[in-house]
Homo-oligomer: 154 residues x 2
DNA sequence: TGCGATTAAATCGTGTGCGATTTATATAGA
DNA sequence: TCTATATAAATCGCACACGATTTAATCGCA
């Protein structure tokens, strides 16, 4: 829960907890992204996956999972939906048949480029933050996430 | 997406985005909470609901939703699970039968007290942050969340 | 070579979130 | 009064997350 200050009189007690601010900000980001991504027919986690897949061809499900901090139980269905949408390719590695290699189709690559061309600017505007504040907050949250994952064992 | 810096060479491109840091920190908090809450038989959102319900007796589903930033489509099933677990009471308001009044049972109240007595301290330790840094980050995230909700229309 | 251990991905069940709709109740105005 | 409108909660379907397990393939080592 991680309290920040003694509970003020009338307010929401949850507002005192960092974990809740993170939780609520995550919900809020999703609500900003939803109408921006709906035209592309993808969800926010799917968008993250496409961006992660853009950086390198032939990544495995595990490699994608390291970038998203997710595992195959979450990623396999997500990636299959992207495959069904014609955005991603899934191929068993011929050297090691346990491994699935992921790639973007032309449509997937184009969608990622197009979305990255407009969506981030709109989200940036929605935050109402300047670049310096944004970078500082991002750095602090990245550190916090890494510390928590380390504590939790992943 | 909200970028913070030009994409560095080898790293994870997602790490440059504030939205992803928030998303990943949320996942990480959940992973820290899970083993701490499992002994009580509740989930993290259920824990938040119990804390919110502790602050006032007889809150409506809508009032709880304002505190958690959720609506009845999410809260009704969650609250029914807490009721089934014997932690929460649900009663139709006699003055206005549309409204459901929520309360904590003795068990629910005790669980909230007990959990608040130990869990936050452990989570605080897991963050590895001091009180000042924690409060600053909490404030920045609360502001960001409010700005994003305002932009999204809730 | 063979067989137990390890690894990668997939599968299954549960609990969120949420858009869209429905149900039930209350309110307002002609 | 009667009916249209508004409101509170519930319902439904879908897409995550994730613990636990399963399936399939590879590796290690005698």
């Amino acid at each position: 829960m991680t309290e920040t200050a003694p509970n003020a009189s009338g307010g929401n007690p949850l507002d005192q907890f960092l974990c809740f601010s993170v939780y609520a900000a995550g919900l809020a980001f999703n609500r900003v992204y939803k109408p921006l991504l709906d035209p592309y027919g993808i969800t926010y986690p799917q968008y993250l996956a496409l961006v992660a897949l853009s950086s390198k061809e032939g990544q495995t499900v595990s490699e994608l999972g390291e970038k998203l901090h997710l595992e195959s139980n979450t990623l396999t269905p997500l990636v299959k939906r992207l495959e069904a949408a014609g955005l991603v390719t899934r191929t068993r590695d011929t050297q090691d048949e346990r491994v699935v290699r992921l790639g973007l189709t032309v449509a997937g690559s184009n969608l990622a480029k197009t979305a990255l061309g407009c969506v981030p600017a709109e989200v940036l505007a929605a935050t109402g933050m300047d670049q310096a504040a944004l970078e500082e907050l991002n750095g602090n949250l990245a550190t916090l996430g890494a510390t928590l994952r380390d504590f939790a064992g992943r």
